[in-house]
């Protein structure tokens, strides 16, 4: 057993100096103060953070669900225009690390919109920024990313997308790359779509299904008859809502720069055309309202040619060569008969009616693209009255025509066309009376007659009681009318026993084909378009086809058979 002895070193330590202890306390105090200070600092900061941090995220600040530019939807809520976050590829040529020659070649392969030379120029230009591709597909983005060039930048930027591509392109218009509306409703609604209300979509009156039908049928007719353009309008005649409005050739608002040169031109509201015989019902209605025509059996003298002042002669395609009644005139679309009725109405009264119908001013609709009506102006004498009576010498837009028919068949009340869905915030306007209700009602039978037994037979859609009028007008070419180029129009209304919708279809310069037997008149090329459109969309619009129903034909019963009276 071994014993150890520990020597207490403290005893060996020198005695502390009297002043040394105070100094130690002093130092200790200092260190403690420093610690306390730092702790206080941290605690204060924590408290501050606790108080100042706002945790209620979502209530304030940026809501990613509100798009940069508001949506536009159709009357059933189907998106017509949306903003999406699209990939954008850009490059900073001044920060380029790789070999510009190689990179230019690779870029030209991946993004073939520009040539390798263009890219080479761009890459050597020392610019600070340039876009390579807007709205790039993710595959392209990853492929470009794989090039490994740090000067290439990828970002997501809001882009305007039109999911229905060309559908209703002229109604919607399109936006510039800066995101502002350039034409159509995009322009009209620019402030609304970028303003604080942009979270809620704008509802248009357009019905996508009707619009698509109109576009496909018109496009088919346009191709078949080699027309240079076409326009179509479907209008709710009681509210003035435009359910479909199209202008062909087609335009893709996603790429507004591409496509035909005149694709941006809205033929339905900006283009003015002499719409020919489709005006005749207006002339007859004016005469009825003025007390000139009391019955559709009223007779006029319809020679084979009617000489008018200025050495011109009005002719008919189906000359009567004898007396003809008002119903005959309408059924066979007689210029001679209508000219006489127009002359009876008189220049002043005709202008007055046309003014009240809104035909002498740009068409009433929200779009900025509205064409100015061409009228005889100060030269509105008897000759002009007669030609205007059958739709020559006055050029209006197809939408004018649709509105005119709406006025004529909704009981005689004119309302402006609207591209907004009627509802709260967009009430149906009061409207102004143009024709009497009686005239409006009696005209139904007359126009139904045209489709049942006259020039518009091919516009009939079984069960839908279509009524309407064909119009074939020669186009002014180089200052004079040439028989070769025409504008054919059909203005139809259905169902004629209780009119609800107006359908106007127009073909610009259709050519004759073998199955039209060499004719290029409206009854052959554009009337079938209306027939097909009505039979396809009628039921969608709530008009059930019913062969057992028919318009009131008592006034025109005698004319239903073409041979019945001549």
């Amino acid at each position: 057993m071994t014993a150890y002895v520990a020597i207490d070193s403290r005893t060996a330590a020198p005695a502390p100096r009297p002043g040394g202890l105070a100094l130690t306390y002093h130092r200790l105090m200092l260190i403690m103060l420093v610690f306390a200070g730092v702790t206080m600092l941290i605690a204060t900061r924590l408290l501050w953070l606790q108080v100042s941090t706002d945790r209620s995220t979502g209530d304030t600040g940026f809501n990613p669900l509100i798009p940069a530019r508001g949506d536009i939807v159709d009357r059933n809520g189907i998106a017509l225009a949306r903003s999406i976050d699209a990939w954008t590829i850009a490059i900073h040529p001044d920060r380029l690390l790789g070999n510009p020659e190689e990179l230019a070649l690779k870029l030209a392969q991946l993004i073939p919109e520009h040539s390798a030379d263009d890219y080479r120029k761009l890459l050597k230009s020392k610019k600070s920024f340039a876009y390579l591709s807007h709205r790039a597909l993710p595959e392209l983005v990853s492929a470009v990313n794989a090039l490994g060039e740090p000067a290439i930048e990828f970002s997501r930027e809001p882009e305007r997308l039109y999911p229905q591509t060309g559908l209703a392109a002229h109604v919607l218009g399109w936006t510039s790359t800066e995101g502002h509306g350039v034409s159509g409703m995009e322009k009209v609604l620019d402030a609304r779509l970028t303003g604080p209300q942009r979270g809620a979509p704008v509802e248009l009156s357009i019905d996508t299904r009707v619009q698509a039908t109109m576009e496909s049928e018109l496009a088919a007719a346009m191709t078949k008859f080699s027309a240079i353009g076409a326009a179509g309008v479907v209008l709710d005649l009681k509210t003035g809502e435009v359910l479909a409005m199209t202008s062909l050739p087609q335009l893709n608002p996603n790429r507004p720069g591409q496509g035909a040169v005149d694709a941006g031109f809205n033929r339905a509201t900006l283009g003015v055309y002499e719409l020919g015989s489709t005006f005749k019902p207006f002339t007859v209605a004016m005469a009825m309202d003025s007390g000139i025509i009391k019955s559709f059996n009223q007779m006029y003298n319809c020679p084979t040619g009617l000489p008018i002042a200025g050495g011109h002669v009005i002719t008919d395609t189906h000359p009567f060569g004898g007396p003809c009644s008002v119903a005959d005139i309408m059924r066979e679309s007689s210029n001679i008969g209508t000219a006489q009725i127009a002359a009876q109405v008189g220049s002043q009264r005709q202008q007055d009616f046309l003014r009240r119908m809104g035909f002498l001013e740009p068409v009433q609709v929200e779009l900025h693209e509205r064409g100015r009506t061409l009228t005889p102006g100060n030269n509105w004498g008897e000759v002009a009255t007669m030609t205007v009576g059958f739709g020559h010498g006055i050029a209006v837009t197809p939408l004018h025509l649709a509105l005119g028919y709406a006025t004529l068949f909704n009981g005689g009340i004119r309302r402006p066309a609207t591209l907004y869905k009627v509802g709260p915030g967009h009430p149906v306007p009061e409207g102004t009376r143009v024709f009497t209700e009686e005239t409006s009602r009696r005209m139904r039978g007359l126009l139904r007659l045209v489709v049942l037994a006259g020039t518009g037979k091919k516009a009939d859609a079984p069960g839908f009681r279509v009524g309407g009028k064909t119009g074939t007008a020669e186009k002014l070419q180089g200052g004079h009318y040439s028989g070769s180029a025409v504008v054919t129009t059909f203005a139809g209304v259905f169902p004629m026993d209780e009119p609800r919708y107006v359908v106007v279809a127009m073909l610009d310069d259709p050519k004759a084909t073998p199955d039209t037997f060499g004719f290029h008149t409206a009854g052959w090329n554009v009337a079938p378009v209306v027939s097909r459109v009505v039979s396809r969309v009628g039921a969608l619009l709530g008009v059930a086809p019913d062969p057992s129903r028919e318009a009131d034909l008592t006034e025109v019963a005698a004319y239903l058979k073409p041979e019945a009276k001549h």
Binding site: L161, L167, A544, D546
Partner: protein, 253 residues
């Protein structure tokens, strides 16, 4: 005494504990808040995804595309006015008129049905063959062997090619039933009809007349080769079933 000297320590501990628990509560709240914010963020992301997908769907299913498919692929067209019905009477008239047994058998038609599982007592002993021109229905009721479930029998009869199919034995047990008139035919189960339809062709008996619904198919007579095995089995039964007077095919119906 001890308590008094530890008083300050206890106070410090109490205050410290209270502060700590307060802090814990606050921390807990903060965690919950953070979770909530995360969920809210997820909702936002999901909504954005929904919007994006809806946009994509809308773009892919745009009207012009649908129209292309409708006209070029599916060959669909808008309903014509004749396809709209306005009142109950017209609707009732639309009901397809199925031929009654009398009408069906106006030609020389044989019908058979197989009831599986349940033994049915014959209504009457086998009647002698009636005069050939007189249309009638001959119903054969085959009692399936007990082990396989009735559905299985039907199934295999239709689709199994294997030689060990229970159906292979079935025809032997089948007893020709006396002609069962009128009401029996509409009650004929679809499966037996199918069997019979298949039966008609293989042994090329001109007489083989399947259920009226399948008449045309059988009349064309050339069966697909892969159907042969079951057909033969059925045919054997068909022989039993077939009425001696079975004669000509008739398409009259």
């Amino acid at each position: 005494m001890i308590a008094r000297s530890f008083k300050s320590v206890i106070w410090v501990a109490t205050v410290g504990g209270a502060a700590l628990s307060c802090y814990m509560v606050s921390l807990r709240v903060a965690t919950e808040r953070a979770d909530l914010a995360k969920v809210e963020h997820q909702i936002l992301v999901a909504k954005r995804d929904i919007r994006m997908l809806q946009t994509e769907l809308g773009t892919r299913g745009r009207m012009s595309q649908l129209e292309d498919w409708n006209s070029n692929v599916l060959a669909l067209s808008a309903p014509t006015s004749a396809q709209f019905v306005h009142d109950d009477m017209t609707l009732a008239r639309l009901e397809r008129h199925d031929a009654t047994v009398e009408e069906r058998t106006s030609g020389d038609v044989r019908m058979a049905s197989a009831e599986t599982g349940v033994a049915v007592a014959p209504a009457a002993p086998a009647a002698p063959a009636a005069e050939a021109p007189k249309p009638r229905v001959v119903t054969a009721i085959a009692h399936a062997p007990p082990p396989p479930a009735p559905t299985a029998v039907v199934h295999q009869a239709s689709y199994t090619i294997g030689p060990k199919s229970p159906l292979g034995t079935e025809p032997k047990k089948a007893e020709p039933k006396p002609e069962r008139h009128a009401k029996a035919a509409p009650a004929a189960k679809p499966a037996p009809e199918k069997k019979l339809a298949a039966k008609g062709a293989p042994d090329n008996k001109a007489a083989a007349k399947p259920a009226p619904e399948k008449k045309l198919a059988a009349a064309k007579a050339k069966p697909a080769p892969e159907k042969k095995a079951p057909e033969k089995k059925l045919a054997s039964r068909g022989k039993i079933v077939r009425h001696p007077a079975a004669a000509q095919e008739s398409d009259a119906d």
